[in-house]
Amino acid sequence: MRVSVIDDACHGHQMCAIAAPEVFGSDEMGNAIVLIDGDIPAELQAKTRRAESNCPERAIVITD
């Protein structure tokens, strides 16, 4: 599983970081950044999906 954030769509709700703090952080503007390079470890995949389903801007893209 890989994950990315569409920068133009992200408006910094930070609900991704609430759901999966190991996977999402924030830049100095409060917008989301992905903290993990490459594959998301198995133990964080459920949380990552949860982050996706909590983003009000639908700015998170998961590719399996």
């Binding site: 100095e28 409060g30 389903s53 801007e57």
Partner: protein, 402 residues
């Protein structure tokens, strides 16, 4: 003054967001409109407005900033003469700004509100909550709204802005006049005058004595494209911080306290599982979203079959969107560990609340501190709770005993 209010004939064509029942509990009306043939209601009251109630529609309008502009963001029209005279150009950037200016209006303040930046307010907020609790804990009873919630955000914002905490009562009065009692145009005018004069004096003082590590000083010295920002921008941002950061957050804390007073099972759930706090706060914000904003239609447009005209006002009922069963399972139930929660209590799109990380922190710390010290409490009288509504919804009197 006795108020003569025309009874509402039909919610779909004549809703009244200031009708006392609606102010207290708008959710049955939202739901009736949402499930009708016409989920975007219309009223001619207060110079007319549209009221979308479905999640999808509210979010679509928030995203379409070219059609639905932020020239007017109050749920009622501006007071006569607003925008005239010296400092008439002071608005409330970025909330009242449209692109392209909105971009830099917002960018300049975002770093102050990143999760990293707001973390430094946590301990101060906790100390403040503890002081407020010290004042009531031996009495066995308190007003969760007026003795507790009301004092927290205003002091946090005053600290952030670097303005005198002793003026708390004035700030609160101005904010209430600006945002809460908004049918009183004279009151809004009074609040605006006071806020602008106050911040003008703060700016003048800093011109004499610039301060280190100070929000207003830094704002005054910011340059955009080689030019220092205009004074109207500085005053406007300060105006917004005070108005947007106080009534909203205090309403959210109040509603959460009102909820917790009635739900021992949720108090226990949080006690047993403290990791749940961040998710629980989002769920409470979904359920009790305090803020409704407005948009002004830029050009004639048909939206979901509604003939909207240039200049029409559209109410962005985020609280209604947050209870749409098409988006949320069991929307009227608080589920502290809700899995899927794309709530829009903080709005959506380019104007999404810049202060949300601070707001969340305040709500969480206020509840945690209270629950640590007063784990068991209940409403004194369910029928004796009073509410503010319209633009911002939350309890204003909420007696609890413990």
């Amino acid at each position: 003054m006795t108020e003569v209010r025309k009874p509402v004939e039909d919610l779909l064509t004549d809703y009244d967001i200031f009708e006392p029942e609606f102010v207290k509990d708008p959710y049955p009306s939202f739901s009736e409109i949402r499930e009708s043939q016409c989920p975007i209601a219309r009223t001619e009251r207060y110079e007319g407005s549209w009221l979308p109630t479905r999640y999808e529609d509210v979010v679509a309008i928030a995203q379409e900033y070219e059609t639905f502009t932020s020239r007017g963001i109050l749920v009622v029209p501006p007071f006569p003469g607003q925008g005239e005279g010296s400092y008439g150009g002071v608005t409330a950037p970025p909330i009242t700004s449209d692109p392209p200016d909105h971009h830099w209006h917002r960018r300049l303040i975002l770093p102050v509100f990143s999760p990293q930046s707001v973390a430094k307010f946590e301990q101060g907020t906790r100390d403040l909550c503890n002081q407020l609790i010290d004042e009531v804990i031996d009495k066995g009873t308190a007003d969760a709204a007026a003795d507790y919630a009301q004092h927290i955000p205003v002091r946090v914002i005053a600290t952030l802005l670097g303005v005198p905490l002793e003026m708390e009562a004035d700030f609160t009065a101005w904010v209430r006049a600006a945002l809460e009692n908004i049918l009183d145009a004279e009151g809004r005018k009074w609040a605006r005058k006071n806020i602008i004069e106050f911040f003008l004096a703060q700016v003048a003082e800093r011109k004499q004595n610039p301060r280190e590590d100070d929000f207003i000083t830094e704002l005054m010295n910011t340059e955009v494209e080689g030019k220092v920002v205009p004074i109207e921008y500085v005053l406007g941002v300060c105006n917004l911080m005070l108005v947007a950061g106080v009534d909203t957050t205090w309403s959210a804390i109040g509603s959460c306290m009102w909820h917790m007073a009635q739900h021992p099972e949720h108090r226990k759930q949080l006690r047993d599982n403290p990791d749940l706090w961040p998710t629980a706060i989002e769920e409470l914000l979904r359920m009790y979203a305090p803020v409704t904003m407005a948009r002004i239609v830029d050009h004639d447009v048909e939206f979901q079959g509604c003939p909207m005209k240039a200049g029409d006002r559209v109410l962005m009922a985020f609280p209604a969107a947050n209870r749409d069963p098409r988006q949320f399972e069991n929307p009227d139930e608080v589920i502290l560990d809700r899995e899927h929660n794309r709530h829009v209590a903080f709005g959506s799109g380019i104007h999404r609340c810049a202060g949300s990380n601070l707001a969340r922190l305040e709500v969480r710390v206020a509840l945690q501190t209270w629950l640590e010290r007063i784990p068991e409490f209940e409403l004194v009288d369910k029928t004796d709770v009073t509410w503010a509504g319209g633009q911002v919804h939350g309890p204003r009197k909420c007696l609890v005993s413990f």
